[in-house]
Symmetry: C2
């Protein structure tokens, strides 16, 4: 009554008698050199401190507090294992044997020197420098540890790596760390996670957990698909009626201005950008609850209202005002304007729309009507000194005048590699999501498929490849809400994160399986309820 | 970037302007008659009480406390909706209009008469009577409510129905209930949920949540697949070394005798049987951590140890002692002895096994070796005055002498309807699980497929059909643990629950979709984190 494949997995696990490698890093760093014949040191958690020369950097101060806590959690997991070891065996635990008997043991470290080589930046942005170098008991820092970076963002990534290097010894009596030097930086600058908060509302606490998981995965962009047909939880300053009438519940199922501000701040402290998406002209039915005049009246039986009405000046006045508010609330330079899945049926049924199209010499050309709207929307964004991201339909339409700062976001399945070739061949910066839809499920998990999808696997020149900025895992929320979204996102989004951070050559599935399992256990210890990724087992120190 | 099907769903939802029917019951009762031209009453929650004549019935006392709480939760959900209504509209809420203006409003009720017509039984058992009759403001109980049953189990099921009938009015100002008479009983006596606590350990708190969800779904059998190859969390009185060495962690990942006792009690109070499964002779690797002598030594490269060694007298002495303990700890008459997926490779490789088989004239007949073991195990259970449930392989083997009190459990996919025909044609009572494997996943959810699987859909006589006792949804835990098991079980197991409780004719998917959605919202209010089942939306009064 269990599939035989699991039995095989189980046997494989029992077959492996050697201690699995612990203290692995996810996503895998670009370069790791080990020293002293695979030497290791012990981190003295009780006396441990971060040594920092820098004074004023709120991101760093907050990070040190956070990462000290995370390091302590790793230590606590060890205690639980120690108990395990004791009860299950009469042998003397390894960590209590005279340490000199273990030739690769090097000694203790009790601090990490953190050196930021430039001024502390304030806000994460596209293309920020995330490079860092980390030395632990390397020849030039014997029995010490040092983290160096030219940006606070590199420091954040390096702190994450430092904590991941720490792992309880097999007997749980100490926290071990390899003697090594790590030189690391991301392969792609845009490593995102889309969360849809419109099909189901996600409470702020749930979003915080998701962002904690993003930080651990070195994802750097939270794409907030905040509103859609079904609900409008964003509480606008200018148009509070949008959420009063468009949210599932205008008090409990909304993001107030304070919520939004706090979420952006939570992300900023973790080096994570927040890109808002207010998808238009389709996917806007919830706007119509308070502003039906924005939408097209349909003269067919399917639905009373359709996409935004692109023929009315009042539509553009409204989005001008509304988008200006968004530009003020969200600090990132990028604004995702959507532009996907615009149904033409409603436009076709409406006589006023058709009259307008005749007057403007585009009779019957509904694609041109669509691009008329998108051009206006995109230029509105440009006028606000922001750059736009658009879903692929806007590019596919062909009629839209996009400047070369526009980013095209590929989402459709099927021939997405061919689509990447086309957009980059036309000179557009491009993001990939097609193979990373987290709402797609398979029995037994599907992270390996997501892991194996490489955004450079298309036929194109080096120049084209450079236009690939990265991609995003997408958590559409038709069938997830606060009850199940976190385990559905993690660790699958973390598999995508390694694809986007690590070198292209990192693709060893058995190795990744083991590292991802250790990584998901770290997430659990931090309270991020990532689901099991590799079959039967448990996490040392798991807290229920 | 969202599948078009969801857009259609959304439009459909917006298209439905009428208030969805609330106060629906899941699983659907056998018979519901409405009165007074779809009349309804208001339940006065603040003054509400249960009136009981019976004195000594601990199950009833506990149930009344619990169901009063559940009724209050429904009321609270109403408050949240009321706020919603107010903020979103300037109209006068319906509930605050003069009630006489609403012709179907009948008045208030402030109590439920609970009448148990027989003595209060102590422990749930196979075939227990679960029939009940419930009247709310029916012609013979005007502006009153009465629940009658001939067993405490019927009373429990009726209380669940009573609370589900209650629903906040559309404006949230009151708790409504239809004027109706419900006569109800289950279609099948065995309606189970299997939970595997060996591939991943499930904390007791998680199991409690699952049992809460079972109670709401009127499931009556918790099949505890407690140990397996990967771990042995059951802490035995006789052989504590089994969990000391076989559990993932001998302190934190075990079920102590107190845990087991408390879980059985938690179930008893809810009219839920607990059937233990100690699967042998396969799926026993974890037993070998402390008792390697029980297992067959393999002389092939795959694994050092295989299934139990059926040729040694000591094996039978051990299980005799161990099963006697289990018979004492678990009060139910049924013991699930497993018997599935016994690999013959290890037996084939072992010279001692082959010698023994020669001496016993079954050279090369490994199926006969398997049935030799199973016969002994099954007769051991009989001698303990218990009945056995076996996985289908034991029946398929053909050589096993099973008495007609043995229940065969069908789990394999493929031609399971044909298998049902075979086992019932041979005169065996049968359980179905093949189409209800909760570890099988599909994007967008798959409850409708599980819902449509009917255990009587095979070619057989009425007599054969009567041998189908019901079935079980199975939550194998290779890829679930405390992080995701509850939303994966519910509400999908509840879909199976309706198939096993309600009349065969209940199969209207659109109606079930709406009722299941309301049901899952009730689960959320009780703290059971069931996942969304029908696409975008939210639950009134959902607590994050």
């Amino acid at each position: 009554m269990k599939l035989t494949v699991f039995l095989l997995l189980a046997l494989a696990a029992l077959g492996a008698t050697s201690e699995p490698q612990r203290g692995s890093v996810w996503p895998k760093p670009q370069s790791t050199v080990r020293f002293h014949n695979n030497g290791f040191v012990i981190v003295s958690i009780n006396t441990f401190r971060f040594n920092v020369t820098l004074n004023k950097c709120d991101i760093l101060s907050a990070a040190l507090t956070r990462y000290y806590k995370y390091l302590s959690l790793e230590r606590e997991a060890g205690y639980s294992e120690r108990v395990n070891f004791r009860a299950g065996s009469n042998e003397v635990p390894l960590g209590e044997q005279p340490l000199s008997s273990n030739s690769s043991y090097r000694g203790r470290i009790d601090s990490l020197e953190v050196e930021l080589m430039a001024r502390c930046e304030d806000t994460p942005y596209f293309g920020m420098d995330e490079h860092y170098e980390l030395r632990v008991d390397s020849p030039d820092v014997p029995l010490g540890a040092k983290l160096v970076a030219h940006s606070i963002w590199g420091i954040l990534r390096g702190l994450e790596t430092f904590v991941q290097l720490a792992a309880p010894s097999a007997d749980g009596t100490a926290l071990h760390m390899s003697s090594c030097m790590i030189s690391d930086y991301p392969r792609f600058p845009h490593r995102g996670l889309l969360v849809d908060t419109a099909r189901h509302f996600m409470p702020i606490e749930t979003l915080h957990k998701i962002i904690d998981g993003m930080e651990a995965s070195k994802l750097n962009t939270f794409h907030w698909h905040i509103v859609d047909d079904q609900s409008f939880p964003y509480q606008s300053k200018l148009y509070p009626e949008l959420s009063d009438k468009g949210a599932y519940n205008p008090l409990s199922h909304v993001y107030t201005q304070n919520d939004v501000k706090a979420l952006i701040e939570y992300c900023r402290l973790r080096g994570i950008r927040v890109i808002p998406e207010f998808d238009t002209p389709g996917h806007t039915l919830s706007w119509g609850n308070s502003h039906p005049e924005l939408l097209t009246k349909c003269y067919n039986s399917k639905s009373p209202l359709g996409p935004m009405d692109p023929t009315k000046k009042s539509t553009y006045r409204f989005i001008q005002n509304f988008f200006s508010e968004i530009a003020e609330v969200f600090p990132d330079r990028y604004f995702h304007v959507g532009g996907d899945e615009v149904s033409k049926e409603c436009w076709k049924s409406n006589p006023d729309i058709n009259n307008w199209m005749r007057e403007n010499n585009i009779s019957g050309l509904y694609n041109k009507l669509e691009s008329f709207y998108i051009n206006k929307a995109v230029h509105l964004i440009y006028s606000l000194n922001m750059s736009t991201i658009v879903w692929q339909e806007v590019f596919d339409n062909g009629d839209t005048q996009l400047d070369k700062n526009t980013v095209v976001h590929i989402w459709k399945l099927g021939s997405f590699m061919e689509e990447l070739r086309k957009t980059t061949s036309a000179g557009y910066m491009t993001l990939l999501s097609s193979c990373w839809y987290l709402d797609h499920l398979k029995s037994g998990g599907d992270w390996t498929e997501m892991y194996q999808c490489d955004p450079h696997n298309f036929d194109g020149t080096e120049e084209q490849k450079r236009l690939i900025l990265g991609g995003e895992a997408c958590m559409w929320s038709e069938f997830v809400d606060f009850t199940n979204v976190v385990p559905r996102v993690f660790p699958r989004a973390s598999a995508v994160a390694e694809r986007l951070w690590s070198d292209r050559s990192v693709k060893d599935i058995p190795d990744a399986t083991q590292r991802l399992d250790e990584f998901r256990c770290r997430l659990l210890r931090r309270g991020v309820h990532a689901q099991p990724s590799r079959g039967p087992g448990y996490c040392p120190g798991e807290i229920f």
